[in-house]
Amino acid sequence: MQRVDLFPTHEYQGLKLRSGRPYPFGATVIGNAVNFSIYSRYATDCTLVLFHNHEEEPFIEIPFFKEFKLGNVFSMMVFDLDYENIEYGFRMDGPFNPQEGHRFDKTKILMDPYAKLIVGRDVWGQQPNWDSKYQYRARVVFDDFDWENDLPLETPVNDLVIYEMHVRNFTCGAGAGVKHPGTFAGIAEKIPYLLELGVNCVELMPIHEFDEFENSRPSPVDGHMLYNLWGYSNVGFFAPKAAYASTGRFSMQVDELKNLIKQLHANGIEVILDVVFNHTAEGNENGPYISYRGIDNKTYYMLTHDGYYFNFSGCGNTLNCNNPNVRDMIVESLRYWVTDYHVDGFRFDLAAILGRDQNGYPMANPPLLESLAHDPILGKTKLIAEAWDAGGLYQVGSFPSWGRWAEWNGKFRDSIRRFIKSDEHVLADVKERIIGSPDLYASQNRGIKASVNFITAHDGFTMMDLVSYDGKHNEANGEGNRDGEDNNNSWNCGWEGECEDVGINFLRHKQIKNAISLLMVSQGIPMVLSGDEMGNTQFGNNNAYCQDNEIAWLDWNNLEKNADLFNYFKKIIRFRRQHKVLRYEYHLGHNDYRNLGYPDFSWHGVKAWQPWSGYNDLTLAFMLNGQYADTDGVPDDFIYVAMNMHWDMHGFELPQLPEGMAWHVFANTEMAAPDDICEPGEEPVVENQGEVLVGGRSIMILVGKKAVK
């Protein structure tokens, strides 16, 4: 059967047209036509501008006829376009009256907010034509990809070990040894490495189209070019960053990213996207016209009463997330990444902004967040909030969740960092963090699965720098070391920066092992910062957003130099993944509610069963009862962790195990490699079953299991 409504009704300068379908917005191929549809509440007229690929001048500009407008939507079908060879944009006419919120300017050619393929920055760092009047160009996408039987993996969230990474930083550096550095294809080449490390989820820092040249400038320190490397500044919400694809020069970034995700899935690795819905790359009133401000400024942005841009993002403007139409765009975008790219989850940058109303006030039940929590397509998608914004709203523990949203647990980071550097005033807080932060997440049925635990993330020091620098060293960013976080809770172990002192370096490695141990034996979803497993340094720079060079790139030679760290990370990650008792979904009972002889979880000190026994509030131990975490009736082991953040060695009295079981030692950070950690399951028995000696600033992890005669 052929459709009867796919015949042209109009002709304009030789092109055949027909009134379009208002929905879906964007450019959609229907039969031998492309349907263009765009919403603007306040525009009076709209023109479709078509270019042949890479050409400076359009070959045609087609006005939307009066009969092509329905409500506030302009839509038309254009027939017989060679759409692989077409770039399209819009001109919008309407009032220019900034005080009223309107900034229409029909001299500008504007990108489609729903563009699924954007060209113009196709090869990273290649200077664009700055005189071009249309910089970021929408194209019609081929959205057919052969996924075969792939789907999002739907790994239980409490089983995840997340690896936060950046497309360029991961494979641009020395020794990466890939054919396509800095690209999606480059990540695919490193899948065997990710498998060896043992993570089962990668969280990609922003991969939506952005402009690396935004605010690019030579560094006043040494003249090297500073770029927008991190990409927290969206040009479009539906298109992948072209220059992150080795095939971006052929505009095949969509297929290259899909192929990466398909391959990661085939290896059991989920993909979470870091998404930035709080602002766009258009900046404030002095910024460029890319799309939104010229299409419907008052719809897309939060504006002050006199028409200036609210700046809750710290980046010049704030997306008007709780305007119903912007909300729809965000929901559409997320659904698109899940249905078309099989993405497993999202981490929302500065998510507190998503809960502000159109005047900037925080809402109790923000409609956008509620929509996402209940969305049918996103029903199994991981939703993770960075639960604060640059406007001072801090919602860790109180982010509106409907039992669906998890959070980056910033308090885990702060408390564990302080504990590791022997802060004597943090023990009570550390205890909350280890058991999944019930003080934050026990309410609203959120549970342990709401807590994404981390010690390091892209913002702030790397793990190696956390133990090598007391203060930040951001001079290379060219802002007089004023940018970046001041409160790092770091300790340099006795010397500021890299050094040759064997004792200091041993202590640094030990502190890193202490940190990753606490991350992996705490309840909650652990997130590892890419590169920490090989001791990556940013030379004290804790805000490397603009350092597209050795500062931010992983130096893969560190794998060999810091082989003990990589070995430790691998094994502790495997240990977590093998022990269900470390991965509870809901908070623990702290009693023996199944009458098994031991509580599910118990605190201890240097004396068993007496958590208050210790030194300067720097010693603590806990025991998990594996009988409470059985798999098909087979109980897990007991796990006992002794933490001595005091500077002297202390004996820890061990709780007695059930008859026939014995304590075995899995890890002891005081020991030099290879005696610091063993293969999970091959732990040697502890000689003295009554007590272990734990070195100063050290952690021991023991496993209680059947004694082998």
């Binding site: 692989e84 060879n85 052969d146 999606f184 695919a188 095939t247 052929f250 095949m252 297929d255």
Partner: protein, 103 residues
């Protein structure tokens, strides 16, 4: 079973994808396997990749085969990165292909 040889020009993209698609499918309509000779083809666009994969799927649905010959390094690399590579069987020359499939 006999395989017909079909030779592509310098590129497979939106300028010729419809015509090439039609000609390749016509061969499958005749019930023959196809050896797609890409020795001279140095550029395959998104549309071109889809011609190849669509042809492969049509062949499969008819119990027929599509063999690729002389795929250049860059085209092969692009196919690998975009996920199109895995579907096909590759040969360096038409002769090598014919020998391998007993044609």
């Amino acid at each position: 079973m006999k395989a017909e040889i079909y030779k592509l020009g310098a590129s497979l993209d939106s300028s010729n994808n419809a015509q090439e698609q039609e000609k390749i499918l016509a061969l499958f309509e005749k019930g023959t396997n196809v050896i797609l000779d890409m020795t001279d083809c140095t550029y395959v666009s998104s549309a071109g990749l889809r011609v190849m994969l669509y042809s492969y799927k049509v062949a499969g649905s008819k119990g027929l085969k599509l063999y690729l010959v002389g795929v250049g390094d860059e085209v092969r690399d692009v196919m690998s990165m975009t996920g199109f590579e895995k579907f096909f069987e590759y040969f360096n020359t038409v002769e090598e292909c014919q020998k391998a499939i007993g044609n």
